[in-house]
């Protein structure tokens, strides 16, 4: 499910042994045991990978083995990916490339331009066959037509996505929590988004640059404080799988909201919106 796409990985793996580089130069062989272990440990140096392994373990022992397995799959895939890039000195850790989205955007722009050109051509011909007043109107239409067409082209996919999201929210919101239909719908969308993210950003954006360390530390402090508070509540439950009224976790507090169709749909809409926001970064 979360295996790297061949086009993004490229080249032989360590297990495949030595191949040839772009200029026919042999690539180094990494079949030896200690070297392979060292490569794997390189991947484990990524803090996020370690955090994912911890999440996988905690999710597993708290009674959600499926979530744990999925987290484990991603953690192992990231370890392998990070180790491979480290071994090859690959600059893939830089800002994600625009990837195929850039090509799609370019082709979409081309389509818009072609359509606009053909429509303005028709307007010009019609205007030349009539009087100067109409020609002026034709010129005005020439200026307006591409803008309107481009706007229409831009909004159509956005509306389609919005309609799809609304349908998803209403349908999945109607499923009972922790049922198989809800599980399949959530895992399907989550996996699709993660795979999309693995291929890179959907569109190129200006680099974020360095952010003030103080500000980052403050945001980090808020995140850590929230996590620790949740952890404290979790550890004061009777056990990891049983909620406590005296020390409620966020899950326990949201249970009443998520017990209704409307509540589930609203929360799902927020979850989808956040996912869309992240995918667009």
């Amino acid at each position: 499910m979360l295996v790297n796409h061949p086009s993004t990985t490229g080249g032989p793996s360590a297990e495949e042994g030595a191949g040839t580089g772009q200029n026919g130069a042999p690539l180094p062989t990494v079949r030896t045991g200690p070297r392979r272990v060292a490569t794997a440990l390189t991947g484990l140096r990524e803090p996020i990978v370690v955090i994912l392994f911890i999440i996988a373990f905690l999710t597993w022992i708290s009674g959600k083995p499926l979530d744990g397995v999925l987290m484990l799959v991603v953690a192992v895939s990231l370890t392998w990916d990070a180790a491979r890039r480290s071994r090859r000195g690959n600059p893939g850790e830089g800002p994600p490339a625009a990837g195929p989205a850039a090509g799609e955007a370019a082709s979409a722009t081309g389509t818009i331009s072609d359509e606009a050109a053909s429509s303005t051509g028709t307007i010009s011909e019609a205007a030349s066959a009539t009087g100067p007043g109409v020609q002026q109107a034709g010129r005005a239409a020439e200026q307006d037509a591409p803008t309107a067409g481009a706007r229409h082209q831009r909004w159509r996919p956005a509306l389609a996505w919005l309609a799809g999201a609304a349908l998803y929210v209403l349908v999945v919101g109607s499923f009972i929590r922790y049922s198989w239909p809800a599980t399949v719908a959530i895992i399907g969308l989550g996996a699709a988004v993660v795979v999309t993210g693995w291929r890179g950003a959907r569109r190129s954006r200006p680099a974020t640059g360095r952010l003030p360390a103080t500000g980052l530390a403050l945001w980090g402090a808020v995140l850590v404080a929230g996590g620790l508070w949740e952890l404290a509540a979790l550890l004061q439950q009777p056990n990891l799988a049983t909620g406590s009224y005296a020390h409620p976790t966020i899950s326990t507090l949201t249970d009443p909201v998520l017990s209704t169709w409307a509540g589930r749909s609203i929360v799902l809409a927020g979850w989808l919106g956040l996912g869309w926001f992240l995918v667009e970064r």
Binding site: M71, L78, A182, T183, G215, W271
Partner: protein, 66 residues
């Protein structure tokens, strides 16, 4: 005030701190980036990007999936 209320107040305090930081970031010249910029920065590399997306997916799994 019982322990339930204290726990809920703790969550609200964390939420309030986040709102204050966001307001300081957007309404003042304090050296605090808005949350959107922090998230964009956090997704600058592939590993962090995947980590963020997996965290998002995990939230959905945690609340809805078995």
């Amino acid at each position: 005030m019982n322990s339930h209320d204290v726990t809920v107040l703790g969550y609200l305090a964390v939420l309030l701190a986040g709102v204050i930081l966001q307001l300081l970031a957007t309404r003042t010249r304090a050296p605090i980036p808005p949350l959107g910029k922090v998230l964009a920065w956090a997704m600058n590399t592939r590993t962090r990007r995947i980590g963020m997306l997996v965290a998002w997916a995990w939230v959905g799994l945690h609340f809805f999936a078995r």
